[in-house]
Symmetry: C2
Subunit: 517 residues, 2 copies
């Protein structure tokens, strides 16, 4: 694999035998040899020293040494006989508030051995991260920490059983999460994250020993938590920047993490501008009448024939539907708009399809699946209020993107690559998101789904030892725009509360295709 | 105090308040300020981060920060409100096999606040260090470690009660001990120290957290153990070199640690030659009929009037005598030689003082104090065999010194300063040691007692942060002569088994004073 320069280096060494003319200690014998290879004097932890003489005698001075990149240069993490069968593993973690995803990495090959996703046990203290912050400030911080540490230990346990390796073979863990999640992990006071002026306890995490954190891997193993730029711009986003490599290219890219908060980065290798703002939970389906998370039973794709108005949808797990998730909602609004079921102001047109338009709780709603089709026995629909919420969310998202673009005096057309990240970002159909005016009207091939960008960035942090420096540089380079204090946001938002926008010149291909005026 | 540049730096900082335009995290706010002062980015341990927000709010951003010199640059060890009354303390330890001496240091002033000596509890497993190594290899290593850690914790406890400080105020500990004692402290395999080719497990100790070792000081506190050059040339000697500053001067110095093993260093700022060899326990009184350690009741000074042959002696604690310690024995043999009670071959002359010469166990002995004078009701004497042992030991000592001198092709007269260190080295009267041919016949004013050189070196390691580098350089510079494998040692020794020596030209002032031929 090209460019593989991971945070762990495995060396085979044949040390000279001790003799009366060479009575260097075991430590010095090893250290001299290593220093000549890695050019700086490596740190040797006590645990390694304590086992060293026995290992050297057993190995006849023929050993394999694992070096890991520590806070200041290389550190010996293990010294074992050369003929001993051992693995050299790392773990990358995407520490999400809903799910925690683990990637087991082989340092010698760069290969992802396996991956697994677990529900975040902290959800018991609140689905919303704000609720968890309140729980933390009321004495629950240690509990939140313990839950996530236990989860990490469980994942390691499961992997080590399934793939038959010793926990001593696991040397390094990199963790990407939002600022609050990383504070919980480290039991750092999160109380000022949600209060003006929104101060996290820490932006940069120094390496910490796995032991100190109670994570059961090699006793000399290290934990790296990706840095954040602020309370609302966390290590998950920094991981995304790393995963996209946008900060390493000449061309201008934009990255957006779509969710309740829209987090946006714009820039290239020379400059980066970032912003985060509330887009609202409607985009993720969170507060809609029939919204749900992207689990089995969620409608994730919707098509409406503009002529016959017949409906097709796709359900996760091919089950009977019980709700509609983020990507389905964007598809739905886009399709309804294209089919004339909703007008440019977002108003439902009941007589366009009287069969599906029903009054629900004193307002009009469009029924996507009636009670016979669903697994709950209740219809799945989108109400006039839902659409209003949805338009407010997509409008906020577009406005945030536009404010960032304007802040550096460029146009959307100047963007070479537009990365869409986030829990459901990968599942958004960009064409549909453009149609409703949520994403800018640029050529469709410029959109790139990043997949699990936090996980990808965390993996890169393991496999490229210089990526830590890169991330620190990214953090130093980012100019963070405080959206909450920008006066023009509200004015711009008003124009974006249309489908796709009051200013149709911003969406030329949509206007042309749908004949909008 | 000039040149005070200790391993702990206390800084007063007034941090800027957070604001919407400056929403750096607490960590970054602190780190940016520190980086601008100490010019490298300091490490901030998790423990400090966890307490940081509360401290900053309580202190109104007006704080005092303790930085300690860690493995790679400065590390924040504490951040507390500026108006909080706190001490900033260090502890230097002379880790001897018999006694462990503690020095409590004020980092802000460089002052030694207090000192205390405790018996080494490991003596229960053998007075002799070899017995303890055997005990260690038979499963006792952890016990030996725990005993010394407990002793350190007890001393800290005692100090903190007597001087009313919090253990959090103690930040750094430096420890000087011989190679074996340091291996016990760290639970490192000592079994190869006493077997050819005499390999210690480690020569250089990296800094270790006090927590990891179970030493109860500030949770971010560090432990520094002075390096050794080999199994028989330990950190106590390196401390002595540091304390004497011989490796920082142009002039040539010799340093000898007098004990069962004679450890010798010769050199200046450009070169250092070292050697260790067995002088035998007789010099310390260890195996003599009436020998004892330098405790209450030990005769430490002896005078015999060469004409009247009347005896004067001084007893430690002004008590009735119960034995004779190292410095007393050297005084005694010297005085007996000067008074003609023993001849140049070491043979007692019974008829020179028939009153004090008695047959004991079939051999002649010289009675220093008869049974009426002693606290034991038994006489204190030196027998013919004792003298033979003593001459063998002093001869070995002189021979070691001479081999080292010859190895670099200089004479004793080239030595500018001759440092005498070790448990009883400080109490030796150099004139008496010259008279018996144990130390070379150079002008008396060139002899300098070093006192507790291990303790002094350990203190210097605390108060001069660059001394660690200095010691590593000293270790790298030392050429170690393996005495056991030098063929001419035995030949030379034969000549030294006389009082003062067969070659009287080596002891011109003694020969002249005593009219020897």
């Amino acid at each position: 694999m090209t460019g593989l320069d991971p945070v762990l280096k495995r060396l085979h060494l044949k040390l000279p035998f001790p003799a009366l003319g060479d009575n260097r200690s075991h430590e010095k014998r090893l250290r001299d040899e290593l220093t000549s290879i890695v050019s700086t004097r490596p740190f040797i932890p006590l645990d390694v020293l304590q086992r060293l003489p026995e290992c050297l005698y057993a190995a006849n001075y023929n050993v394999q040494v694992a070096l890991i990149k520590a806070e200041c240069g290389w550190q010996v993490a293990s010294c074992i006989p050369r003929d001993k069968n051992a693995s050299f593993l790392g773990l990358a973690i995407d520490l999400g508030s809903t799910s925690v995803v683990f990637y087991l990495i082989n340092f010698l090959t760069g290969e992802i051995i396996t991956t697994a996703s677990y529900e975040n046990p902290q959800r018991a203290h609140g689905e919303d991260i704000l609720e968890r912050i309140i729980f933390a400030t009321q004495g629950g911080l240690k509990t939140l920490q313990e839950e996530v540490i236990q989860l990490i230990n469980k994942a390691i346990d499961d992997f080590s059983k399934e793939y038959s390796f010793s926990k001593e073979d696991l040397y390094y863990i990199s963790i990407a999460g939002n600022t609050t999640m990383c504070h919980f992990l480290m039991a750092l006071d999160p109380s000022h994250i949600c209060k003006e002026p929104y101060i996290p306890t820490t932006n940069r995490f120094d390496l910490i020993s796995a032991n100190e954190l109670g994570i059961k891997i090699n006793p000399n193993g290290l934990i790296y938590v990706l840095p954040n730029v602020g309370s609302y711009f966390g290590g998950d986003l920094i991981a995304g920047i790393l995963a996209s490599r946008m900060a390493e290219r000449e061309e201008i890219s934009m990255l957006v993490d779509v969710g309740t908060n829209a987090e946006v980065v714009l820039g290239n290798k020379d400059w980066l501008v970032a912003c985060a703002g509330a887009a609202g939970p409607a985009l993720e389906g969170g507060i809609l009448s029939c919204g749900m998370r992207a689990q089995e039973g969620a409608i994730e794709r919707v098509k409406i024939d503009p002529k016959t108005l017949s409906v097709e949808y796709k359900v996760i797990g091919n089950a009977r539907p019980k709700g509609i998730c983020g990507s389905g909602i964007i598809d739905l609004l886009s399709a309804m708009f294209e089919a004339g079921l909703v007008d440019q102001t977002g108003k439902l047109i009941p007589n366009r399809d009287p069969k599906r338009m029903k009054k629900m709780n004193d307002e009009w709603a469009y029924v996507l699946a009636d009670e016979d089709e669903t697994s709950t026995g209740k219809p799945i629909y989108i109400s006039q209020s839902d659409i209003k919420n949805l338009i407010r969310s997509k409008g906020a998202m577009y406005t945030i993107l536009n404010v960032v673009i304007q802040s550096v005096g460029i146009d959307f057309s100047d963007i070479d690559s537009f990365y869409v990240a986030g829990a459901f970002g990968n599942y958004i159909d960009p064409q549909k998101a453009i149609t409703i005016g949520m994403l800018p009207d640029i050529p469709i091939e410029r959109f790139v789904g990043l997949g699990n960008s936090a996980g990808k960035g965390a993996i890169r942090a393991l496999l490229e030892k210089d990526s830590r420096k890169k991330m620190e540089e990214i953090c130093d380079k980012i100019t963070y725009l405080e959206m909450n204090v920008r006066g023009d946001f509200m004015n711009q938002l008003t124009g974006a509360l249309f489908l796709p926008h009051t200013d149709l010149s911003r969406f030329p291909t949509v206007s042309k295709r749908l004949g909008l005026k």
